[in-house]
């Protein structure tokens, strides 16, 4: 029974992500999610208190998977330069994910403007990413790999670069090879703060 319950929960999340991405959060209702997932309303409310709860769950899962991925790239790397380049390379997964994750990225931001709870959860990881990058850059400066740049500024620049590339990738998917752009732009930046 446990396995079946998990499978139902997963199907609700998957259907909700597809619908939010395709038609937006506001235009999607619990009834539509139930229909797409082929579950009853009773089953839906057994797993989630509301449409918002499904949405926050998707957001949380997405942010966590990105964070685990980035931390993994850093942990595997022999030095800070390779660590940061490795993190940039991991963004490939974000752009190639075919499950519609990228198309609901904007929906998260749009809802954040209207819903303080979503806002809090969208904003918080950006602050964490900035701290994570700042710590890495600080290490690079201490090791003498990087010039004595301000770690907070450099981290903010890196996070902004990433956000900017993702936003453009969402809107203009065919405008560039976005995963290559990310790697090259981050590479150029890292080279720029490196000692020569």
């Amino acid at each position: 029974m446990q396995a079946r319950s998990e499978e139902t929960r997963g199907r609700i999340l998957q259907s909700a992500m597809t619908l939010f991405g395709r038609q937006g959060y506001d235009a999607t209702g619990v009834a539509g999610i139930c229909e797409a997932a082929a579950v009853s309303k009773g089953a839906f409310y057994h797993h989630f208190a509301s449409k918002q709860a499904v949405f926050l769950n998707l957001l949380e899962e997405w942010l966590q998977s990105v964070e685990v991925d980035l931390a993994g790239a850093l942990a595997e790397a022999p030095n800070v330069v390779d660590g940061l380049l490795g993190m940039a390379a991991r963004t490939r997964g974000i752009f190639t994910a075919a499950d519609g994750r990228l198309s609901i990225f904007l929906e998260f931001w749009a809802q954040a403007r209207k819903d303080p709870e979503v806002w809090r959860r969208v904003i918080e990881p950006f602050r964490r990413y900035r701290e994570l990058f700042a710590a890495v850059i600080q290490r690079g400066v201490a090791e003498g790999t990087f010039r004595p740049v301000d770690p907070a500024t450099a981290a903010q620049a890196l996070v902004s670069l990433a956000v900017g590339v993702i936003m453009q990738g969402v809107f203009d998917p065919r405008g560039a090879e976005w995963d290559r752009v990310t790697q090259e732009a981050v590479g150029l930046f890292i080279e720029g703060i490196g000692k020569r």
Copy 2:
């Protein structure tokens, strides 16, 4: 009569910008815009064919003012480094504009997903900005101010940086002094591609 007509048109645009920014495009109707602007529906339709026409007009005006501002900063500068730093400094105006322009920035992007005409007009200037930056960087490389970086990659990084900072500024206005962040991050990037 001409002056009064212009004044009416301006009031419609101003009211629409406030409402789109505060409650979103979808939740705003022509009736609401007319009420806020204290104009009749007849006057509204004399100036604009639809709500979408008002929206596209606001988008176009905003993008043009940004572009004129950036081009001006570049033209005034004695060299490419100062030109790029001057462009970054001009973004201050974007963040300090009190008229709600920033708060409808996201609304433009959200509508772009649903409306191909909005999409075309939102995407097109990004491509122009990339070309503008690439030309400047190319000049810097030719002059020997910059290292022999790939102008297209560097331009893409700069545009992404700007988009990322603006997006974060929209969402987390108190999370940082965003105009200072822009200048410092761009400064760091320019320094990074500069010859030492």
